[in-house]
């Protein structure tokens, strides 16, 4: 349990505000954030900077989920999407507040904060970004 809470806490900047990292050497952007650039390797140590991604983008690919258990049972059926955001970073998440037949590749979306899951009735509530159609 303690591990789950600690991990939840570490990931808050990314989950709430789409904060990734940018390599101070080559300028590449990473999401989720990394402590180390796989291209610049040791040169990047200490040079990774926080980088808030743009909350807008377009659907790159999607799928409709019809079976799930736990928290998401009450959300069925729902859409999961790959979103290419306006920094050209690929993000995975749910697309909600949408009429499922209207979901299509290329549609504009924006990130909002929603409940992702909860650890039963007594545990922590997980909040994170999901996507909604951008008018």
């Amino acid at each position: 349990m303690a591990m789950v809470v600690a991990r939840e806490w570490r990931e808050i900047p990314g989950r709430y505000n789409l904060e990734g990292t940018r390599c101070g050497c080559c300028g590449k952007i990473f999401f989720p954030s990394r402590a180390f650039c796989p291209h610049c390797r040791r040169q990047s140590i200490g040079k990774m900077e926080p980088f808030p991604l743009k909350p807008t983008g377009e659907v790159y690919s999607f799928s409709i989920v019809h079976q799930s258990d736990g928290f998401n049972r009450r959300m069925l059926p729902y859409a999961v999407v790959f979103v290419k955001n306006d920094d050209s970073i690929m993000l995975a998440g749910q697309l909600v507040d949408v009429d499922l037949p209207t979901v299509k590749i290329g549609m504009r979306v924006r990130a909002v904060l929603r409940k992702l899951d909860e650890d039963g009735k007594a545990g922590i509530i997980h909040y994170a970004f999901k996507f909604v159609p951008a008018e």
Binding site: V112, L113, R114, K115, I125
Partner: protein
């Protein structure tokens, strides 16, 4: 020092249920119930929405309209609600994190039935006026609870609004605020109980009407104003009937309360009700407009505000976020089964 509203944002979930659909399940003439309460439909949160997500949506829109304001200059953030996701663990810190206002600020959740949002506005006005913080954020939001089949179920809904309070570039100056509070047990929820209990007709005269009218009259006496001096008025709206009758008793016209009365279309958003009504007024306000605002929270108390819209509103970037008329235009009707599933009234097996 002049203090007031620098920015605001509002959010209402998109799902709606009608009184006749609720009445169909409980063997009640829901249409007549809706007519009596002056409620055509009420908003329902999606299973992944709660006070944290509603407050965050409103607060992010509030910040989007003032791109020059550094969230690090926010020194206080209060969330007023009676449906906080955690009994112990603040909602305010999640919202503060989500608008990048952490860590150098004070934050707390407030509870005073339906008026904790306006209590937060008063606290921020005090902190800003005293020079203790540059900006304060006050949010009123709820995913209102009601017992299935109870009269409250026809009105209890979800939504919220956020206010950035400061002393620079204010779009609406708060000329004066005062309150009227007594121990009046008209509505309550005990610790650990799922649903609130109310005193039926007792919630009317000695509770809502006494507190709202006393606060409104005291404020107008203090300011030397009459109802005709105000362009708009916003009263707490547990249903459509109470604020309409209150306005008439105090001498306000239906036109003065029209923009501030959202309950007939979205239901009673509890702590969100007056903040949302004021947001809808500000969506339409022009420089020089004067607004009387009176909230009400059971238990019981009213906060009254005398507000003047300033010239700053002309350059205010309202269009950076959707206004309420846009938010309320996209709705999806649901039936009672979906509503029960969304509200978690249907027990699912433990995973």
């Amino acid at each position: 020092m002049e203090t007031g509203i620098v920015s605001y944002g509002a959010y209402v979930p998109r799902y709606r249920i009608k009184p006749e659909e609720i009445g169909r399940i409980w063997g009640v003439d829901g249409k007549a119930m809706g007519r009596g309460l002056m409620i055509n439909q009420k908003s329902v949160p999606s299973p992944d929405e709660d006070v944290v997500t509603i407050a965050t949506a409103a607060a992010r829109d509030m910040m989007a309209r003032v791109p020059d304001v550094d969230p690090q200059d926010i020194g206080a953030l209060y969330v007023g609600s009676e449906s906080l996701p955690y009994a112990v663990k603040p909602t305010a810190t999640v919202v503060a994190e989500a608008i990048r206002a952490t860590p150098n600020l004070t934050a707390a959740d407030l509870e005073f039935a339906c008026k904790a949002g306006t209590a937060g506005i008063q606290m921020c006005l005090g902190l800003v006026g005293a020079g203790m913080v540059k900006y304060g954020v006050a949010i009123g939001a709820d995913t209102s609870q009601s017992a299935p089949g109870d009269a409250l179920e026809y009105s209890a809904s979800a939504g919220g609004a956020a206010y950035l309070i400061g002393s620079e570039r204010i779009i609406a100056r708060v000329n004066r605020t005062l309150s009227f509070s007594t121990d009046t047990p008209d509505f309550w929820r005990r610790e650990g109980q799922m649903y609130p209990v109310h005193g039926g007709r007792f919630t009317g005269e000695p509770a809502y009407f006494r507190h709202v009218s006393s606060a409104a009259k005291r404020l107008m006496a203090d300011r030397g104003t009459k109802p005709e001096d105000y362009t708009y008025a916003v009263f707490h709206q547990p249903n459509g009937k109470f604020p309409t009758r209150m306005a008439k008793q105090l001498g306000f016209t239906p036109e003065q309360i029209a923009y501030g009365l959202l309950t007939p279309e979205i239901g009673n958003t509890y702590s969100g009700a007056v903040p949302l009504g004021l947001a809808h007024v500000l969506d339409h306000a022009k420089p020089g407009d004067r607004i009387l605002v009176v909230s009400y929270g059971s238990g019981a108390g009213s906060d009254a505000f005398d507000i003047t819209v300033t010239d700053e509103i002309a350059g205010y970037r309202r269009a950076n976020a959707p206004v309420l008329d846009q938010i309320l235009a996209h709705t999806v009707d649901i039936d009672y089964g979906t509503y029960a599933k969304f509200k978690g009234s249907i027990a699912l097996p433990e995973e």
